[in-house]
Amino acid sequence: MSATFTPTNATRRRKRRRRLYITGQALIGLVLLIWTLLPLYNMVEVALRANGEVFSDSLFPPHPTLMGFWTVLTENYWYVEHFWREMGNSLYIGVATTVLTLLIGTMTSYVIGRLRIKGAWMVSNAALLTYVIPMSFLAIPFYRVMQNYGLGDNLWAVILVEVTFATPYAIFIFTEYGAALPLALDEAARVDGCSPFGIYWRIYLPLMAPAMVAVGVYSLLLAWNEYLYLILLLSSEKNMTVPVALGKFLNSDEAPWNLMMATAVIYALPPIAIYYAFRRYMTSGLTMGGVKG
């Protein structure tokens, strides 16, 4: 086809197509930007309002102020009077969930993918059975189970629930990712006299780093988005977390929506920061072998 065009025509045509392409790309980008940011704008906009102005229906805060954020950070309102402790608990749960998920996930996938004992597949299949009954429905059973294990009102109860629901996915990703790593490396290490643990620690884990970043972000966000289990399994004040504090606002007469949204915005920052810090690894880490099928 292109042979029928003179060179100048072809160049012009290519140029026009290129311009069209750029315009299209930019247009899609603009739509995506508005689509993504509108609900978030609404949050930030309310967070920036002064105390008496949360009810005005203007598109912008009439008198934008950072007082809401300051109030939360200095714990200067009774719903957020323990904000930093709550943030600490949330971080504790998030970090512990992430570490445990990574540890258990890699150990299991190491056996499945590298040690290859017969029937190890059964483990990863069994893991998927976890998803037969959705998480939110096991709330009451978990309440009882945790009491039986002596974990009533204990942060570890929540951590273990999150780990339970994060590991099947972690095992799945790790096994897929690990399948692409050359077994020759293991072999060489073995010849040098490395034990299976040595191989796991010195060879397997470093190679799995990108996948671990990806799964780590996933499990952190799973724990970060939790609400139901936090209120169900924890009760005392010293074990309160930020989502529970957010829930308090919903029950309020005073409607301090600016403070609620300020709290929410601050709460959203740690996972965003972590995601940004590790974003290089995200795409490579989530690569699944499934592509080749």
Binding site: K118, R144, S235, V244, G247, K248, N251, S252, A255
Partner: protein, 459 residues
């Protein structure tokens, strides 16, 4: 080798798990009389919680018992309570704002609560009659009605209105009629006139007809009584679906709530409001009035003196269409002790301490009269409650403590609590909005209610 290994491994881990489960008696809290595990609904104001903490500290000193107190917010608490009652792993004492509606009658029916008659008896002469009647539930195992909750506060509907909006429409507050239908109809021309004055998106009637929260049931059931439908459930726990008077009252209530909506006098989003949404709509002056179960709309803006003392006027429920005062439905939140509690004596001791009129009065006062006292003497002995300079509190007390009140039907039978929880009436309102005749919608809803009552046969 590997196969055997796997089996050993499975057996090993299973053994570990079993050991953990069997170790339960050692881990679980043993019965003890020195600590008290309490779940208490979080208050609405810092001072309210502070007053409660002070009360607890006093009691701990005198009783020598240490209270492990968990202050939890409403919705979260309800889920914890259901979980605890289902699994049998319970605290010693529970108080939940919303629990009165469903949890208490249901748990009492299933014989999951400890009889607290001996606690209530200590202040029997002080309590209002409605408070006493509201805490007697039917236990379907012992087949007896008894006190399973200890009442200590109450709430009832009232209606905050924006004076500036009504006056902007060209009316005086004294123009507002005080009989049921005329009262609600008054706000329709108010809206029309405000719209003409350029008030975009202001609505005359701000009531909730959604299937969320407590607000939609509060107004529906109160209206049902105003139209003469109080006999829908009798104190023996029976539903009277075939009673012509009940049926007529239902039809009237459905029409009263659905027709103004169709005509555009209620915000369209009211079919999807939660309990907080009507407060927000009112505070942003999107509606001229909104029925609310407490005076929280006013107390939330107490710091704004202009709003609290002048602009927002709290109106008690209007009289019925014959001009007679309507019995106001009083919901009476109660503390209760689940069976399986480890320290029943301690829980009862605390409740006895709490309901001493002096202690209770001090505590409730810190909640800005958001809660009504259940003992008339508290109101009579302390000028705070009837201060003429505070018309909001005065209106609420005059209606809910000193005026005629009545019991929610769910006290007589938990089936009615389920009727409310399934929002059978609100679905009927939606049916009418979508063109079904109110008569048919009422019949359909009553059929559903009958099916629920069939599960709870009292006789």
């Amino acid at each position: 080798m590997t196969k055997v290994g796997r089996r050993t491994l499975l057996a090993g881990t299973a053994g570990l798990a079993a050991a953990a489960v069997l170790a339960r008696p050692n881990i679980a809290r043993a019965a003890d009389s020195k600590t008290l595990e309490v779940w208490w609904n979080q208050g609405f104001y810092p001072a309210e919680d502070a007053a409660f903490h002070a009360l607890v500290a006093e009691w701990e000193k005198s009783s020598g018992i240490k209270m492990n107190l968990s202050m939890v917010t409403g919705a979260a608490l309800d889920q914890k309570v259901v979980s605890a009652l289902t699994t049998g792993t319970v605290p010693d004492l529970i108080y939940s704002d919303d629990g009165t509606a469903l949890t208490l009658p249901q748990a009492a029916w299933n014989s999951k609560l400890v009889d607290v008659s001996d606690v209530v008896e200590t202040q029997k002469n002080e309590y209002s009659e409605t408070a006493l009647r509201s805490s007697q539930y039917f236990d379907n195992v012992t087949k007896k009605r008894s006190y399973f909750g200890v009442p200590f506060k109450a709430q009832a509907l009232n209606i905050p209105m924006w004076r500036p909006l009504i006056e902007m429409a060209g009316y005086q507050m004294s123009d507002i009629p005080n009989t049921w239908d005329k009262f609600f109809a008054f706000f329709e021309p108010v809206q029309d006139k405000l719209r003409k004055k350029g008030q975009r998106h202001v609505y005359g009637l701000g009531y909730t007809i959604s299937t969320n929260g407590a607000d939609p049931n509060n107004l529906f059931n109160q209206s049902l009584i105003a139209y003469g439908g109080a006999g829908i459930v009798t104190p023996d726990g029976k539903l009277h679906a075939d009673d012509a008077k009940v049926h007529k009252a239902l039809v009237d209530t459905l029409n009263m709530l659905a027709i103004p909506y169709v005509k555009g006098y209620v915000p369209p989003s009211a079919v999807n409001w939660g309990d907080g949404d009507n407060n927000s709509a009112f505070h942003s002056k999107g509606v001229v009035m909104t029925p609310n179960d407490t005076i929280s709309i006013s107390t939330a803006v107490m710091d704004n003196k202009q709003w609290y003392y002048h602009d927002i006027v709290t109106q008690p429920m209007p009289h019925d269409n014959n001009g007679k005062p309507v019995d106001v439905m009083l919901s009476v939140p109660q503390g209760f002790i689940p069976k399986g509690a480890k320290n029943i004596d301690g829980a009862k001791d605390f409740l006895r301490y709490l309901i001493q009129p002096k202690n209770l009065g001090n505590y409730l006062k810190q909640a800005r009269a958001r809660w009504l006292p259940v003992m008339p003497s508290i109101v009579k002995d302390d000028p705070y409650w009837t201060n003429p300079k505070d018309p909001t509190i005065l209106a609420a007390i005059t209606q809910g403590v000193l005026g005629p009140t009545t019991v929610w039907p769910s006290v007589y039978n938990p089936a009615y609590a389920q009727v409310d929880a399934e929002y059978i009436w609100q679905v009927a309102i939606a049916d009418v909005i979508h063109g079904m005749k109110a008569d048919d919608a009422a019949t359909k809803a009553l059929k559903q209610a009958t099916a629920i009552f069939a599960k709870y046969q009292t006789a």
